[in-house]
Symmetry: C2
Amino acid sequence: MHMKTGVEQSMYALVLLNMLPDKAVLPGEAISQQLGASATYFQKLLRKLVTADIITSVPGIKGGFRLKKKPEDIRVYDVYLAVEGQQSLYSSHGILVDMLDLEKEESCCLLTNLMEEAESSWKAVLKRETIASLSEEMCGERFKDKVAALEEWINNKMVV
Amino acid sequence: MHMKTGVEQSMYALVLLNMLPDKAVLPGEAISQQLGASATYFQKLLRKLVTADIITSVPGIKGGFRLKKKPEDIRVYDVYLAVEGQQSLYSSHGILVDMLDLEKEESCCLLTNLMEEAESSWKAVLKRETIASLSEEMCGERFKDKVAALEEWINNKMVV
DNA sequence: ATAACGTGGATAATGATTATCCGTTTTAAG
DNA sequence: CTTAAAACGGATAATCATTATCCACGTTAT
């Protein structure tokens, strides 16, 4: 049981896109290079973010990706959901139904309620932070120089 | 990101063992049959429960498994931990460290704190219920007959 | 027209989870 | 003291989800 690495990657991709000036765009290949991710595979993840209305894609030469929403409106939870899908962490295999020989309608599992509560509780925390708050955290005094270098890199790679 | 089915199986295995009279024991093969689980593989899971001090094993003919602790002292969380191990749901791949070109000591990730909090929150819910409370839930009026049949089965399969 | 980009589908490689096999040890019973 | 049934441990295979690659296609600035 482990979160996909795609969630972490996507999150940082969005932090990168958040550094872009208005109307500018960053090509997918540049993003995946910066993340150290497989370029072709990361395109698929970017696609998921597009269909989740988190980012916009611009095709054609001078194309790329940019945020579609304001960074303070993109919750960590939204990114998780876009990348991992909405399947729950736990789903019953109907063991109790078999053990007690219940009817199929009586889908009954001693764990489902508890697990759903646990998951809600987990998700609630993911809803607390946004791309805006993460970006802010990164741009604090501590990493001033490093972030400046990253901005420099963005200026080189961004389009229009 | 999905919980192993072994967790659900183990949980019900413990509910079964909780139905045993004192000092009696249930062979691993009977347990896995009742659960509809692969017998040989489920032995491995039972082993994890043994090393986690949740159940005791008795080798030799007339051997099998029984609870080691009182059912009210076995939390759902304990079972989860025994089966899945203590690795956390999220672990950083150091993407930010690479992006900002930080020193290795400066292991820094914008998500780690949040994710750890979320996980704690998730685990807290799993600590609320125990094998005792699950068993109780199962043995309510609703499934009276069905549970009686299960007890019958246990009487047949248990040893000593 | 062309070159650089995103899209979509098919398909492989990888890795974790689940499953099987076999030999060993333990113990009750004949 | 032999045998049968059980847990144990290691090696290994099968299965499945995740990650990765490839290629043909649509889009758009130059």
